[in-house]
Amino acid sequence: MHQPLEASIAEHSDLFNLFIELEPEQAKTFIPMEIPNFGAPMRQRTLLDYVNVAVSNMERAVATARGRVGALELQAAQKEKDAAALEAPSEEVPAAAQDTWQAVYQKFDKAVADQQKAAALAALRQPAHNAGTVTATPEDEELTILKKALQMLAYYQEVQKRLIALDAQTFDQSFPDEEYMFRADLPIVYRQQAYPYMQAVQSGPAMVYTKIGTYTRESVGDHGLYDELYDAVWNGDHDKMRALCLPSEEGTENATTLLQMGVQMHTRPSNPYETSKAYFVNIIGPISRSVYSSVHPIVRGAPGSQMGHREASA
């Protein structure tokens, strides 16, 4: 869910001034919380964090766009230079030698060279768009991008200035003891490096077990015991699964030593920056079904079970 202040900044609207005036306290330590990503470490940033990142991204975008515009300007200047050279008149063949075979050759050669020059000049002067259509030239496109990037940079700098004037804080300043720190110095594409989870995936063991969660993936710790659990599931060893995951009737076990049923295993991707291709092996279905049915056969409902007989008799 978005707060009005957040939505106004996201839309690059000057309405942000209004909402900062109305809720100045909110702007100081506000953590935008879009619901689908609520609680994810990557979302643990204050508004100032987001704006700082936006400013640095826009500065990079402006630098890139300026570089492209500069390159295109150089290219255009070179074109002009080439055109000027092509337009320069070629040397005339000396009149005295016109009756020799060399003069005939030179005359022919000059005619061919002139023709080639004219063709090259026409190519240089040719507009970038097809006749009859209105298409922006590459220079125009790059200038538009640069103009837009400059506008966005100015907007975010204004928001940043306003927030700093309000004594707004970054997430690290607001919550110095939090485990997951957002590292604003990292470009967005490498942000997964900021999280211990991804570091474990990229530099840790080849296989990692984590709790199943839509947005958070917390390591479950002891690797060996989860190997045993996976083996037990694979072999259908219900007693082993029960012993590892469920408390006994005596209840003497420490709850923290019991394994999580909802875990997933994934392997380290070959490319450390490629997270989307990580292999997720989800075992919550088989584990929960087998453990649950072994402990509570009455609710299993399969043919031959107690529930099945009841339904049949009814």
Partner: protein, 136 residues
């Protein structure tokens, strides 16, 4: 309301003449119509009217509809964003609409968890967007 069906208040957005539209709105509200009724996507008639930028109708509803406070707090999913109606007005840069909604005091400049919880219109929204439960 179901997808494909329309609330009578929502249809007032189609009346070209503002005065006639206002008369219809007043009549409907006086006979019990509520702008907080939602369709199965959880979007209320109020939300649709805000998205249609019907300033006069919204002003009338803010004045006369007893359910309008809830309508202002109803969270819906519109423009790929989740939030109360004021969010869609902000995202469309409708300054007049934003000012109007804030001026009547029913729409807030800060959505609290209490607003969020009270603004959820019906159970089907929870089943459709279960992540609402994460913060409610």
């Amino acid at each position: 309301m179901t997808p494909g069906s329309y609330h009578a208040l929502q249809l007032t957005a189609l009346i070209p003449d503002h005065q006639s539209a206002l008369l219809v709105v007043e009549t409907l509200v006086s006979r019990g119509a509520s702008s907080n009724v939602t369709d199965t996507t959880g979007t209320s008639a109020f939300q649709y009217l805000v998205a249609s930028n019907k300033v006069e109708i919204i002003e009338a509803l803010l004045k006369i509809d007893p359910q309008v406070k809830l309508a202002c707090q109803t969270i819906s999913y519109i423009h790929n964003k989740t939030g109360p109606p004021i969010i869609s007005a902000i995202m469309d840069c409708r300054r007049t609409m934003v000012a109007l909604m804030l001026a009547y005091g029913e729409c807030k400049s800060l959505v609290t968890e209490e607003d969020f919880a009270s603004g959820i219109p019906a159970k089907f929204v929870l089943s459709k967007f279960p992540y609402y439960l994460a913060v409610s």
